[in-house]
């Protein structure tokens, strides 16, 4: 049995608006104008809704980012915290410093900086921790990224990031190609995610060199 044609009788074949067979030039122009008006109104309403949505979410987003940064800095520095007291603990144990045009944190003997750089699909944000002598990387944490799910996004996994521990902060880091990373300036890549791994290495390298320059200048 042939199926009834899939269309609502009130709507026309390819347009939502009914079109009369005879149209004089005036009504044609009017219709075109109304069409444009519809789009403009739709555009304006959408833009307004988006701006409203953004301002609605802005305070919560800022709060979340602050929480994420502070709790990760504390964890990376090995300082215990709880959901209720992390802000206080951060105040007490972590000192924000600035120098040479960038800001960084000092916690116990460790030196910590945020980084934000370009990944394959979006920005990679995180923190890098150096030891007091500014020669070794103690930890790297990825706080936000938009890489390929299942492949590139493994750069956020602690088991992968652990391979950065102990690497040198004095030379630029490189991705170990075709062999396991042995040198202190080499990092293994994630199989199937070379570009994302390389992006992280580049971002961490530039962050580390910026941090060393700033921290060498001395605390403020």
């Amino acid at each position: 049995m042939k199926e009834r044609k899939e269309s609502d009788p009130a709507a026309q074949r390819s347009s939502g608006r009914a079109e009369s067979k005879t149209q004089n030039p005036k009504s044609k122009i009017l219709k075109k104008l109304l069409d444009v008006v519809f789009i403009v109104v739709l555009g304006v309403v959408s833009v307004a809704l988006l701006l409203a949505a953004q301002s609605y979410s802005a305070p919560a987003v800022a709060r979340f980012r602050e929480t994420r940064l502070k709790t990760n800095v504390l964890s990376a520095a090995g300082i215990p915290w709880t959901k209720d007291d992390f802000k206080q603990v951060f105040e007490e144990r972590v000192k924000e410093q600035s120098g040479a045009g960038s800001t960084w944190f000092a916690a116990d003997s460790l030196v910590i900086a945020e980084f934000k750089g370009r990944g394959l699909w979006g920005m990679i944000e995180g923190i890098v921790v150096l030891d007091s002598s500014l020669t070794r990387i103690v930890a790297v944490r990825v706080l936000a990224q938009e890489e390929t799910p299942g492949l590139g996004d493994r750069i956020k996994e602690p088991s992968y990031l652990a391979t950065y521990r102990g690497k040198t902060a004095e030379e630029p880091l490189e991705l170990a190609m075709r062999h396991a990373a042995t040198e202190p300036n080499e990092v293994d890549a994630i199989t199937g995610a070379t570009l994302s791994s390389q992006a992280l290495v580049s971002v961490v390298t530039s962050s580390v060199s910026r941090l060393r320059t700033a921290a060498k200048g001395g605390a403020q």
Partner: protein, 195 residues
């Protein structure tokens, strides 16, 4: 700073948007039945990209960034793309009717080619300047068109041989072809960095 010409060559070969990034797949499968169809679509896509890439760059840099409204980038890019394609279609119909009729149904289909939006987003992410944007846009168009045309050529040959299993015909065997080509293009990765 990456030289614009390096970006152009990279966008066509080593960072081919269809075979390395796997973007714009739906139209690639649909338009790759015959070489002339594929090449025609490739030319149309390149033309539209050459216009829209720099246009979206300008809007982003000169309007969105100064007014801190980056959240609207997606929406704005999409509106610009759809409007630009509409405009190009109208202008082409008025001034180059022969060209317009040869493009035929391709032009409206370009709007839904994700490669167009992807170019605008990549340009934004990689912070290209205007020249880099121009060559990246053109290169991406050529790259996408090249990939589709290669697949079309292979499909045409297969039609002559006539050995494809019945249920795999059409889109199925195209997927296998695309897979083989995409794997081949992995060999290019790491050659040069354009991001």
């Amino acid at each position: 700073m990456l030289h614009p010409l390096i970006i152009l060559v990279a966008a066509v070969f080593t960072h081919n948007i269809a075979l390395s990034y796997l973007i714009g797949m739906c139209p690639m499968l649909a338009m790759s039945r015959r070489v002339d169809t594929a090449a025609g679509m490739g030319v149309a896509v390149t033309f539209v990209l050459a216009l829209i890439g720099p246009l979206n760059w300008a809007i982003y840099r000169l309007v969105l960034v100064p007014t801190h409204s980056e959240v609207m980038a997606f929406l704005v890019f999409i509106i610009v793309i759809a409007s630009a394609v509409q405009l190009v279609e109208m202008l082409m119909g008025r001034f180059f009717p022969a060209l317009h009729s040869s493009f035929g149904v391709f032009l409206p289909l370009i709007t839904v080619n994700c490669a167009i939006l992807a170019v605008s987003l990549f340009v934004m992410l990689r912070e290209y300047n205007l020249w880099q944007t121009v060559t990246f846009s053109i290169g991406t168009g050529i790259g996408w068109g090249l990939a589709t045309t290669i697949i079309a050529g292979i499909r045409e040959r297969l039609q002559l041989v006539g050995d494809v299993p019945a249920d795999l015909r059409g889109a199925g065997i195209t997927m296998v072809i695309a897979g083989i080509l995409a794997l081949a293009f992995i060999g290019f990765s790491g050659m040069v960095a354009i991001q």
